[in-house]
């Protein structure tokens, strides 16, 4: 889906970053082409070490790209980053603030630096339900509170684009849901949210579009439904008394069948009715029929397996 750069919140072309380490050169991002449309939540997925954080750092001008071009809302970055940075709120990796200052003090310094009115600090503290705890030292915060403070900091700018790098890392289920709701709410306000993660199930629930990367390269991109649909044909799990007979009948009928844990799995078919019809014709009656929706996880596993990567995405 080609879109002009101006319609994209983020666009990178051939983005590259090589790190030098003890063993020589290490390519962290290898020619990444990433397009993030304006509006909605965009999942930025990839296993550990696939270059998500590195790409985000390059976008924010924290580290230098070796090659490639980047645009944010049509502004070339890092060259014109100062023009657009006010519209971008970002959390890179873990939240980082001055531990000896209170959450509020940390926010006040940031707000003052960008010339925001004083009231905004209370407002964002309220918005992230930190409220009273804002007066406590950052050092004393729980992980969830730190994460909320980081989100509060991004909201100081009243941004159009939010970049959250693994915002739910280390949070409990309630915390994860809270962050998810926050992202949804932000996107409902018309903001674009880019959320990186290696926990796929989590992004799948909130993302409108996704990009999947591995080894610093784009593997797949698009609407969640399309990415799932394109990559793995849906399949149906079939329970039947005489597995061998059913297997033969369906295979003879030209279907792709395998056995899996006392059930048959028929790949490449979405409609279970076809199966029941064929088996019933041979007086074999289906006692179980489960359509298996390919989720992002299996897509992800497949894509990264193709790349020869091991995935560390959490199982559902």
């Amino acid at each position: 889906m080609p879109a002009s750069i101006a319609e994209l919140a983020i666009s990178t072309k051939g983005l590259r970053k090589t790190y030098r380490n003890r063993k020589g050169l290490h390519v962290a991002v290898a020619g990444l082409d990433l397009d993030v449309p304006v509006g909605g939540v965009h999942g930025f997925l990839g296993p550990n070490g696939s270059g998500k954080t590195t790409s985000i750092r390059m976008l924010l001008g924290l580290i230098r790209a070796d090659a490639g071009t980047m645009n944010i809302f049509g502004h070339e970055v890092p060259k014109h980053l100062p023009d657009v940075v006010g519209r971008v709120g970002a959390i890179v990796e873990s939240p980082k603030f001055f531990p000896a200052f209170s959450g509020r003090k940390n926010l006040q310094l940031l707000a003052e630096a960008i010339g925001r009115p004083r009231g905004i600090v209370d407002q964002v503290l309220e918005q992230t339900s930190l409220g009273e705890r804002g007066k406590d030292k950052y050092r004393t915060y729980s992980l969830g509170m730190k994460q909320r403070l980081a989100i509060a900091a991004t909201l100081l700018k009243e941004p159009d684009l939010l970049i959250f790098d693994e915002p739910t890392n280390g949070l409990d289920p309630a915390g994860i849901r809270e962050i998810r709701n926050t992202m949804r709410a932000l996107s409902d306000q018309g903001k674009t949210v880019l959320v990186s993660s290696h926990i796929l199930s989590e992004v799948e629930q909130v993302a409108d579009t996704v990009s999947i990367i591995g080894h610093g390269r784009l593997l797949a991109s698009g609407r969640v439904a399309d990415v799932i649909g394109n990559q793995v044909a849906t399949s149906v799990r079939v329970g039947v008394a005489d597995l061998a007979a059913a297997h033969r009948i369906l295979t003879d009928g030209g279907l792709l069948v395998r056995e899996d844990g006392g059930l048959l799995v028929v790949d490449g078919i979405a409609d279970g009715a076809e199966i029941t019809k064929r088996l019933a014709a041979h007086y074999l009656f289906v006692n179980e029929l489960i359509p298996v929706r390919a989720d992002l996880e299996s897509v992800f596993l497949q894509l990264t397996a193709d790349e020869g990567l091991e995935s560390s995405g959490n199982a559902k």
């Binding site: 890092p78 980053l81 970002a90 890179v92 980082k96 001055f98 003052e112 630096a113 010339g115 700018k157």
Partner: protein, 330 residues
């Protein structure tokens, strides 16, 4: 830029390290004043009686043998003057004098202030350096620098406002402490020494020296910021500073005396005192075939010191600017 500098100033003075270091500076000032008091305070009754007895004895001895001693002195001097016409044995200044050779001469405000201010300036500069280094190093080690850069990505702005904040922030603190130091020494000498002979020129010189001391503290704070930015950890900065002091200033300077003009401490001395002296050992075999070593006094000009320090600051601040501009920040 102004806004950013104001924020940095606010952060500087919210830091516990800044407060602690400034408190330390107050304590240091107090201790230096205590030293000044020790120097100025009159002898106790016992010490005085002892000194008086010693003096009386010396004077008795002088009354008996003084004339002969002067004669001997002149003779010796004449011998030496054959090879060294400039030799001066001060033969007509041999009479023991109370208040000079014995007893305790009165301390003057000018003298005491000069030496006190000199010692204090070094310590203040070091404290300012630490404040500046910790101010930015903490940002790198806590990772908040990365966050800060997502709010202001123009790195030269970020860097220069930090330099400015540390420098500006040190001005009121240093001025206050300077006031404390002057007041303290004035009270001490007014009570135990003499303040009366302080001429306008002396005041003028002390004023200029204070101004240079202030400049030194401000510059030290900005160099601290640069070093903190370069090394990213306060401990690393302190380690380098200590390493330099011990390795170069203490050990190296003994081995290579001729290189003293290129050492930091001496140039700080030259800056503060508007030129200073240093000594090197000059050894040679004299006409009688004897190997002799003499301490030779050398002058280090104010121009040399100020150029040296100026270039050093430009170098450190400039190199750090280039490194920071290109650096990957995590």
């Amino acid at each position: 830029m102004r806004r950013l500098t104001k924020v940095e100033l606010r952060r500087l003075f919210s830091r516990r390290l800044t407060a602690g270091a400034l408190l330390g500076a107050v304590v240091v000032t107090g201790m230096i004043l205590l030293g000044a008091y020790q120097q100025a305070k009159p002898l106790s009754g016992q010490q005085l009686a002892f000194q008086r007895a010693q003096f009386d004895q010396a004077h008795q001895n002088w009354a008996l043998n003084g004339a002969q001693q002067v004669k001997d002195c002149v003779k010796q001097q004449a011998i030496i003057q054959k090879s060294d016409p400039k030799a001066d044995f001060h033969c007509n200044d041999m009479e023991p004098k109370w208040g000079v050779n014995w007893g305790k001469p009165k301390v003057t405000f000018d003298d005491l202030m000069h030496s006190t201010l000199l010692n204090w300036s070094y310590l203040m500069a070091f404290i300012a350096f630490l404040i500046g280094a910790g101010f930015v190093a903490s940002e790198f080690s806590s990772g908040s620098m990365g966050n800060w850069l997502t709010f202001e990505p123009r790195r030269m702005r970020v860097y220069s406002t930090k330099l400015a904040a540390a420098g500006l922030g040190l001005i009121p603190a240093t001025l206050t402490l300077l006031g404390l130091l002057f007041g303290g020494v004035w009270l001490i000498t007014a009570r135990y020494g003499s303040t009366a002979g302080t001429t306008g020129k002396m005041w003028n010189d002390l004023g200029l020296m204070s101004a240079r001391s202030l400049v030194l503290a401000v510059v030290a704070a900005t160099v601290g910021v640069a070093m903190g930015t370069l090394l990213r950890h306060t401990a690393a900065v302190i380690g380098i500073a200590m390493g330099y002091l011990i390795l170069i200033e203490a050990i190296f300077s003994h081995l290579l005396q001729n290189q003293q003009p290129w050492l930091l401490r001496l140039n700080m001395d030259g800056w503060l005192q508007h030129g200073t002296k240093y000594y090197i050992q000059s050894c040679k075999t004299d006409s009688q075939g004897q190997y002799r070593c003499d301490g030779v006094e050398k002058l280090l000009g104010f121009g040399h010191s100020s150029t040296y320090l100026g270039l050093l600051v430009v170098l450190v601040v400039g190199i750090t600017a280039m490194v920071f501009q290109r650096r990957d920040v995590n």
